[in-house]
């Protein structure tokens, strides 16, 4: 089992969700986050005061999948979230030791 964490542009969130559904992913967790990468922040000007905003808003998607779906899911997210411009985000894949479905107590792949 793997945990896929994807940071994407907020307006691409729906496309990513749809692409994941299409390959059979049954659930994701989404968080509104801020951060910085290669995409530069921007400057805000209020009368005489100038503030540099370094952290830009992004959407963080977390999805846990079985081994068979990992590559498909990564590919689906990459395609759906791609605009070709700087700031499209990143995908991190990490090992997942255990998953438990709280309602039934099922564990491992059955809980996904």
């Amino acid at each position: 089992m793997k945990l896929i964490t994807a940071i994407v542009k907020p307006f691409k969130l729906d496309d990513v969700r749809e692409a994941l559904s299409d390959i059979g992913v049954s659930g994701v967790t989404v968080t509104e986050v801020k951060g910085f990468g290669r995409q530069k922040g921007h400057t805000e000007l209020y009368r005489g005061a100038e503030y540099v905003v370094d952290f830009l808003p992004k959407a963080k998607i977390e999805v846990a999948v079985g081994e068979s779906l990992v590559d498909l899911a990564v590919e689906a997210i990459t395609k759906a979230a791609n605009t070709g411009k700087i700031g499209d985000g990143k995908i991190f894949v990490t090992n997942l030791e255990q998953v438990v479905r709280i309602r039934t107590g099922e564990t491992g792949d059955e809980a996904l």
Binding site: E44, L45, Y46, R47, G48, A49, Y51
Partner: protein, 466 residues
Amino acid sequence: MKRCNNQGGKMKQLLNAFILLALLSVAGLSFAETGLPAEAAATVAEAAAEAPAATPPTVDKGDTAWMMVSTLLVTMMVVPGLGLFYGGLVRSKNMLSVLMQVLVVFSLIVILWAVYGYSLAFGGSGLFIGNFSKVFLQGITPDSLADTFTDNVKIPELIFIAFQSTFAGITCALIVGSFAERIKFSAVLLFSVIWFTFSYLPIAHMVWGSDGYLLSKGALDFAGGTVVHINAAMGGLVGAYVVGKRIGYGKESMAPHSLTLTMVGASLLWVGWFGFNAGSNLESNGGATLAFINTILATSAAVLAWSLGEALVKGKASMLGAASGAVAGLVAITPACGSVGPMGAIVVGLAGGFLCLWGVSGLKKILGADDSLDVFGVHGVGGIVGALLTGVFTAPGLGGTGAEDFSIGSQLLIQAEGVLITIVWSGTVSFIAYKIVDIAIGLRVSEEIEREGLDISEHGETAYHI
């Protein structure tokens, strides 16, 4: 436990402020008792009664209705208008403190106005100050009358008092913008009492009062460019210096928390300003309509000027800039609205827009003070621009209503004198007043409170629960 002690201290400070207020009132009363008989110069009503030979004064229901509406409009400028305009510009942790300061300062000054302010500003004649003949509004009844600009046309004195009370209130509330986000609530109140008494009242009397120094000189200030705006702006600027910069000023982000609310406030200010300017005509006639149209034109011109200036200099025209431009135009046209023509008003507005944009950027850097919400940049610069240009565009050759022998040169000198006197007077009084407050109860909140925000620490509440 520590918090409790802290609150006890604040209560004590507030109590001190109220004791001072009470002392002032008593002082006023005793003065009135001794000075009254000789000076209780007959009210206009009495004078009219004693001279039945002359035609009785006209009191027009339309004028009275217009003055009541104007008074409502100016009240609307302050309590929702200025409060939201300022409130949106601070960080969300200080939103309520600004709303509270504006609301309570306005209320406090309106009461002081009735207790002794009106009497000192408009009671009796004198070069610099009136007298105590009308403290506690004594002798004034619904039948008492006040002068307008037309001979023998009067309005009920009570509505004149109410109208003028809102001017005093808004002037003191304007100052709040300069020391926002770091001052003690009790310090704001104590400062307001002192400043109102020793700066607002003398300047108001000098400009509008019977035999006032600047009025006698021929200074033109129709709706209060010097009395309200330059006066308040100096109170603010000195406050910004004496109170000191906000912690993190220039390093941390102090971006406005809601420009939407600032826009709501600016809009209320603009609409309310029709009462401020056209209401200052005291009659609902052609003169009021001149002030009215000038209030539309100058403001629009200033919105365009500020936006254009920003677009040219900074690359983008901002909403905050356009809204600030509206206020700058309103400030600039305030002294001029009754005497310049519509095309003159447009020029006044354009100048106000461009120069106030410089006031909040270039000039602000030169001054080096943390004038949080740019009271001086907008009201000071706009007030000075307006006061001086009044001396230019009142000229009949430039579309103004000045007499045939109107001389721009000599009028400009008189206008400049009015500006200078206001700057020096208000600046001096403000400095002393801040020092007194600092010694008596302290001006600033502690660093811990400032970081936490004034809403929770000074008022025990939070603006937003999201």
